[in-house]
């Protein structure tokens, strides 16, 4: 304001100055002004807008411009797309986030200048504990067999079937040692007990065992030697007579009472005592914990760790590692070089690997639920791939 007491010349100059200042504005009153709205990342969210003059509205789902007449008002409402959350809104370099109302809305105006509004959205990171128990309803889903245990049954001998007791130890790489006894078979004093060694591996999607054995001693009191190797798919099948067991092929060279005989790739089947079948354990369970962490520099990152309980009860702990998540591809997690904490002292389990590919999730109430992805598993010398959701307990 110019004081009335000011000399007339000063009042005139002041009036001229005010007129000079207001003239351009007056000339531009109602002129269109373009605001830039930046949405980052692309696809992270949308901006609903409306302008008082001209009276218009719409939605931006990507960065763009909104024209509003000078003196008008611009209403912006920021909406995050599924899987995203609004992180910040900046007006030029000023953080405007805290001026938004509960509906993530703000009314800008009366508009005098062009501005840039930057809406930044962030991916909502699904976190929590995810358990993938063995799919007991779909045992065929997994191509893993653990054999450690005791097996009793009847195996075919060269002349008649014999009762056997076999004890099997299988390590984390699928290497197998078998010790046992067979009716009428007595090892030579000082010779190894009846048994063999071999390995289980996945062949064409099926756990398959290869076994080699050698024997020196007597069979029903008659001097005998044998060298045999055989293979069988570890599918427990009906081997006839209502018995269950394994079917496969074997090659052997044997001498019995000085008479040598041998066969190559001859079919063989060995029946199990039904109680033994439970030894062919396939059940294993994976638990994954995913969380958000902040590093020393204040930067946030996703961390994942996992516990794998193998069919023989060994627990492999995979230490926390950084993980990546995207809305489109979900999580891809690789767990290897875990520690077998059942061993005393614990040791690195080099032969145990789990890979989760493209694990997508949706929020179900307060918890996240996997909706897709595959699990690639490798342990006990075997491996397989399965659909992740098949491992989830129903309901």
């Amino acid at each position: 304001m110019i004081p009335r007491s000011a000399p007339p010349i000063r009042r005139a100059l002041a009036a001229l100055s005010l007129a000079a200042l207001l003239l351009p504005l007056g000339a531009a009153w109602g002129a269109p002004i373009s605001w830039t709205i930046a949405i980052t990342p692309k696809g992270g969210g949308q901006v609903d807008w409306s302008t008082s003059s001209p009276a218009a509205n719409g939605t931006l789902d990507a960065s763009g411009k909104i024209v509003v007449e000078q003196g008008g008002f611009l209403d912006l409402t920021f909406r995050a797309n599924d899987g995203y959350v609004l992180v910040s809104v900046f007006k030029n370099t000023d953080d405007w986030t805290f001026f938004l109302d509960g509906n993530k809305h703000f009314q800008f105006g009366p508009v005098a200048n062009a501005h840039k509004i930057t809406a930044t959205y962030g991916v909502v990171v699904p976190t929590g504990a995810f358990d993938f128990p063995f799919p007991t309803g779909h045992p065929a889903l997994t191509a893993i067999a653990s054999l450690t245990g005791n097996y009793t049954g009847v195996m075919p001998g060269p002349f008649f079937a014999r009762h056997y007791d076999l004890d099997v130890a299988m390590d984390e790489a699928g290497k197998v040692v078998v010790l046992g006894s067979v009716d009428g078979v007595v090892p030579e004093p000082g010779a190894d007990p009846v048994g063999g060694a071999g390995a289980v591996k996945t062949v064409d999607g099926t756990p398959t065992m290869q076994l080699k054995m050698g024997f020196e001693g007597t069979l029903d009191g008659v001097a005998a030697t044998a060298k045999a190797s055989g293979g069988a798919a570890l599918d427990v099948v009906d081997v006839g007579g209502g018995a269950v067991g394994l079917e496969g092929t074997h090659s052997y060279k044997t001498t019995l009472g000085g008479v040598p005989f041998s066969e190559k790739n001859a079919p063989v089947h060995a029946s199990f005592d039904p109680a033994s079948v439970g030894n062919v354990a396939k059940d294993w369970t994976l638990g994954i914990d995913i969380d958000e962490r902040t590093d020393a520099k204040g930067k946030r990152y996703i961390a994942a760790r996992a516990d794998l309980v193998l069919p023989d009860g060994d627990t492999i702990v995979f230490a926390e590692r950084k993980a990546k998540y995207t809305i489109a591809k979900g999580y891809s997690l690789a767990f290897k070089n875990g520690t077998n904490v059942t061993l005393v002292p614990p040791a690195v389990a080099k032969k145990v690997k789990i890979q989760i590919k493209r694990m997508t999730l949706v929020k179900d109430g307060l918890v996240w639920r996997p909706t897709g992805g595959t699990i690639h598993y490798q342990f006990f010398g075997q491996k397989g791939v399965a659909n992740l959701v098949d491992f989830l307990a129903p309901g």
Partner: protein
């Protein structure tokens, strides 16, 4: 009368010859390296006799297996009628396919064709494979078409059936299947398995040929697995080249080393070279394990020497495992090596090697040390919360040693209320004269 007497005399002589031959070969094997001249002469006389006996044994064994599948209690017409009787579930009557394929008559073939034309894939696969297991070469031409079946189970069964029949034409077709770039990987793998199963020179050449086509790692791994089934001299150059080439993927090198577990023991020197010198510990471990699969190869001192300087515990574990069947083990060097082990799997593997030495000679000076120091530790491990596999192998070490202290330990584990059933049972099975 005189003729009958002569025949009786000849029969008696023949029986005596067979009996003497069998006894003689049993006590003094003609192939034994230390056989004296007399034994070798005996071998010339008696070996043909026992060999003929062996062939007869095998013939009878095969005949007995065959009889079960042939359903030999019924006529051919009955077998065909039962196979065609659609009032019975196909899962029950499909077993007659073996008999029909073995007969191979026009009626049997017609019946097989009729059923195969409408059978669901799982039955079709079963029948196709069963046809092949007869080994009837005439059935080959009926199986070729199923290699192109829309259902993979049937294609796989056709491969297995054709492999059972065999022949160079089958080897050639399987080689094409392995080579086919547009083929499903699991069928290419199945064809490679089949070639290994056949074991013929044609199959080997086919496998060697397709390996040079740079197949995917899973297919290549199966090819080397199948090649590993041949005598080492026949495939040595390929394995040596594969292991020497820097571009060979690590997983394939491991698969190749393990595959030689199925070759003959001529592969052992090569495997021990890998176990000693390869830069990849996984390959060294695989080679050490594969060498042990050949049993007694008189390599005890070499294996102990390798274990002494091996930095990787996994490799040492496999070296100790390979020591178990070796009769000549430098025990004075093995004991400190095992005593220094901190990795429990390697340590227990070492105890198994020591147990085997003690088991072969219970009077050896090591036996007393084993009883005093190793047995208590094995009992502790067996009774601990350690991995089931490790605990089972601790029991195995006690069983291998077989000393009185080890036997007492087995009894204690077998009756312990803390031992889980697999461990208690394994211990009980190791107790002499166990119930």
């Amino acid at each position: 009368m005189r003729l009958t007497g002569l025949a009786g005399g000849l029969a008696l002589f023949g029986a005596a010859l067979v009996g003497v031959s069998a006894w003689s070969e049993s006590r003094y094997p003609s192939g034994a390296a230390d056989a004296a001249l007399v034994s070798r002469v005996r071998g010339v006389v008696t070996k043909p006799v026992v060999d003929a006996l062996g062939r007869e044994v095998v013939r009878r064994l095969r005949g007995r297996r065959e009889a079960r599948k042939l359903m030999s209690g019924i006529s051919d017409e009955d077998a065909i009628a039962r196979f065609l009787d659609d009032r019975t579930d196909l899962a029950e009557r499909r077993v007659y396919a073996y008999r029909l394929a073995a007969i191979g008559s026009p009626q049997a073939i017609a019946a097989l064709r009729a059923v195969l034309a409408t059978a669901p894939p799982e039955d079709r696969a079963f029948i196709v494979q069963l046809i092949g297991t007869t080994g009837n070469r005439a059935m080959k031409r009926h199986l070729w078409t199923f290699l192109g079946d829309a259902d993979d189970r049937v294609t796989r069964a056709a491969i297995r059936g054709l492999v059972a029949i065999g022949g160079s034409d089958v080897a050639a077709v399987l080689a094409d299947l392995v080579r086919r770039p547009d083929g499903a990987e699991h069928l290419r793998v199945e064809a490679a398995i089949g070639l290994g199963e056949m074991g013929t020179a044609a199959a080997r050449n086919a496998l060697l040929g397709v390996l040079t086509d740079a197949p995917s790692v899973p297919v290549a791994a199966q090819i080397v697995e199948s090649l590993g089934r041949f005598r080492f001299a026949r495939v040595a150059a390929t394995f040596e080249d594969l292991m020497a080439r820097p571009e060979t993927p690590p997983a394939l090198r491991v698969a190749a080393a393990e595959a030689l577990a199925r070759s003959n023991r001529d592969a052992v020197p090569f495997l021990l070279r890998l176990a000693s010198d390869d830069a990849d510990p996984d390959v060294r471990a695989a080679a050490a394990w594969a060498s042990g699969m050949h049993g007694d190869t008189r390599t005890g001192p070499r294996l102990v020497a390798l274990a002494e300087r091996e930095p990787d515990a996994d490799v040492r574990r496999r070296l100790y495992e390979s020591l178990v069947p070796q009769p000549e083990v430098p025990i004075d060097r093995l004991v400190p090596a095992v005593a220094a082990e901190h990795d429990v799997a390697a340590r227990i593997a070492g105890f198994n090697a020591l147990g085997a030495v003690v088991g072969r000679d219970g009077t050896a000076p090591i036996a007393a040390d084993f009883d005093a120091e190793v047995v208590p530790e094995l009992v502790r491990v067996a009774a601990s919360g350690n991995s089931l596999n490790v605990r089972m192998r601790a029991v195995f070490a006690l069983r291998r040693a077989g000393t009185p202290a080890a036997q007492d330990a087995l009894v204690a584990i077998a009756t312990s209320v803390d031992a889980p059933p697999p461990i208690a049972n394994a211990a009980r099975h190791g107790v002499r004269n166990h119930p």
